[in-house]
């Protein structure tokens, strides 16, 4: 990477850390530290919520996924607008009126301590795993691209987040996210403009879109009822609705962002804004990936976008064999490129018959290229049998490094780091809040000064941050387990949402019934994971519905719930 890119990257990341520390400098009590004294306007909440949900996957995995498989992932977000409307009507006014610091305080108010403890336990397991992954994923990719040790990038990303989250608290997290998100959106937009401009002169945006469609990458909506298909309109609307309800309504990393708002109105507007823009934004990012694919129809892509195994095989004992594979791959590409030009002419002529025939030839040529590519990957596996053969995370960044002008490369790298840092900052902030409010204050030291709790909150942030760095480093040795960790959220979310739904809407079901219902539901969800092929989005529905139903059934055999008073049903 060139010096100007390094300068932009370092300036942007150090700048955001200094800004974060400066922004949170006035908060000397626990409410200021954990909730910014509930002072944020809706637009800051909106971008903070958006930045919390955005992670390195936004920049790395999504364009890579669209490149390899298409834009179907957008359906994952279909349930989001419905979820934020329901939460705006129900959960937000309730949390705000109760003046809670964490979502889990509400559970003890409505149900009992053990149900609160269960929800806290599930949150800590899930978020602690996610925090390590949030830092690790971009650290791994950036370390590979820049040729740095994973330990260096992992620690760099982690320490930067720890500094401003610890010193600045929730206010620093929210306001840095506001600016980080603006840079992220700018990075995505400029990347899109440049990839379209870098197409050959005779390829317009419309041509490129038709080409991407012909290559099978623009099937945004799938009406299949097959439960094993990961992304369909039904899994997105139904499973996604339950997932997003759980994420925005019960996950402290998001609830805390919304509680930072200065009023119920600002909380609602911040959340609803995401309901309005999230799907178009995610589609735009996926579409960017599809455009990168079209770009690589005219410029030869590398056999494998992760250059580390490529370089290893080039300098290893199979170098000659790999050179032969590379030569045949280049010929395959030239052949495919010729077919792509024919397809393009058919598209421009509006000749459907010729277009269909050309499309089949392009797909056959693509199959040939992929087959040659597989031979190259097999040679790489001879050197490292445990290597990750999926290079989707490296596609977008590979294009950035090879084709973007100096300065912008540093900016895009900064945006990728910001996507990770913003998400990790919310996670550390939420883990610290839950540790202080739901564990330390509730179970260890109930009576202490505000100053004492503030100190414990800062200490918790540092400890969780160090844990996330170490866990990330541990992940780097496990490889494929990362995929399993990604699904952990959906394994727990449905059950937690079920607990909250009972707390929101039922005055009859007791804490004991919910607690037992949640345990049974969790066992069922874990069984779904191990023994069925059902797509993970459906786990949210299964966990939630089972928790509510089993709790309602058990309540028939249990003593009636005692009136805990003070809290009415949700508005």
């Amino acid at each position: 990477m060139r010096p100007l890119d390094w300068s932009v990257l370092i300036l942007a990341t150090v700048g955001i850390v200094v800004y974060g520390v400066w922004k949170g400098r006035g908060d000397r009590d626990i409410e200021g530290y954990l909730l910014s004294n509930r002072s944020l306007p809706w637009y800051a909440v909106a971008l903070s919520v958006m930045a919390t949900q955005a992670s390195a996957a936004t920049f790395l995995t999504m364009p890579g996924q669209a490149y390899a498989e298409g834009v179907a992932w957008v359906q994952f977000y279909f349930g989001l607008p419905l979820a934020v409307v329901v939460l705006s009507v129900t959960a937000i006014p309730l949390y705000r009126r109760l003046n809670v610091y964490t979502a889990y305080e509400f559970l003890e108010e409505r149900l009992d301590l053990k149900t609160r403890a269960l929800a806290v336990f599930l949150f800590l397991i899930q978020r602690a795993l996610a925090a390590g992954l949030t830092i690790f994923t971009p650290a791994l990719v950036i370390s590979t691209i820049l040729g740095l040790d994973i330990l260096v990038t992992n620690i760099a990303v982690g320490v930067l987040v720890i500094i401003y989250t610890t010193f600045g608290g929730s206010r620093a997290v929210s306001w840095t996210q506001f600016h980080q998100m603006i840079i992220i959106l700018f990075g995505i937009t400029i990347s899109f403009v440049l990839v379209v401009r870098q197409m050959p002169e005779h390829v317009s945006l419309l041509d490129a879109t038709r080409l991407a469609g012909s290559l099978g990458r623009l099937e945004a909506v799938n009406f299949s009822f097959d439960l094993t298909e990961r992304y369909t309109i039904w899994s997105g609307l139904i499973g996604g609705f339950f997932l997003q309800m759980a994420y925005f309504g019960t996950d402290q990393s998001q609830v805390q962002r919304v509680l930072n708002a200065r009023s119920i109105r600002e909380s609602r507007l911040g959340l609803l804004f995401n309901g309005l823009v999230k799907i178009p934004m995610q589609f735009f990012i996926l579409f960017l990936g599809a455009m990168v694919l079209v770009f690589y129809q005219f410029v030869e892509p590398p056999i494998f976008f992760n250059q580390v195994p490529t370089q290893a095989v080039r300098s290893g004992p199979d170098a000659a064999e790999f050179a032969d594979v590379e030569r045949r791959y280049a010929l395959d590409f030239e052949n495919k490129r010729g077919e792509v030009e024919v397809l393009l002419q058919a598209i421009e002529a509006g000749d459907d018959g010729a277009r269909g025939a050309a499309r089949e030839r392009v797909r056959a040529a693509e199959e040939q290229m992929l087959s040659t590519r597989d031979e190259g990957i097999e040679l790489m596996q001879r050197i490292d049998p445990g290597m990750d053969t999926n290079d989707a995370n490296y596609v977008f960044l590979g294009w950035v490094m090879d084709f973007l002008p100096t300065g912008l490369v540093g900016l895009i790298l900064a945006a990728i780091m910001f996507a990770s840092m913003s998400s990790a900052a919310s996670e550390l902030n939420a883990l610290a809040s839950t540790t202080v409010v739901d564990i330390y204050k509730r179970a260890i030291k109930p009576e202490a000064s505000d100053k004492h709790y503030l100190l414990v909150a800062k200490l918790s942030t540092v400890i969780w941050g160090i844990y996330a760095i170490f866990f990330g480093q541990f992940l780097s040795r496990l490889g494929t387990i990362v995929v399993a960790v990604n699904i952990v959220g959906s394994i727990f979310y449905g059950t937690v949402l079920g607990i909250f739904l009972v707390a929101f809407y039922s005055k009859r079901i007791s804490g004991t019934a919910v607690f037992m219902g949640a345990l049974i539901a969790e066992v069922a969800v874990i069984a779904c994971y191990f023994f069925t092929e059902i797509s993970f989005l459906w786990y949210n529905l299964v966990g939630c519905v089972l928790t509510v139903l089993v709790a309602a059934l058990l309540q028939i055999f249990l003593p009636p719930k005692q009136d805990r008073g003070g809290v009415g049903a949700a508005a």
Binding site: I30, R97, Y101, G216, R265, F283
Partner: protein, 47 residues
């Protein structure tokens, strides 16, 4: 820091931008319908 903070009494807040929350919810849900319709059109047109 109160473990069991007193519920905050309802206060009069500024009205939402379109005059009522119902209208805003309708806009969000309506936009979902429009976006899905556009994506279906997009899929059928370009795939």
């Amino acid at each position: 820091m109160n473990e069991h903070p007193e519920p905050t009494p309802e206060v009069d807040e500024e009205p939402p931008p379109l005059g009522s929350w119902g209208r805003i919810y309708a806009v969000v849900i309506g936009s979902l319908g429009v976006v899905i319709a556009l994506l279906i059109w997009f899929t059928e047109t370009f795939s």
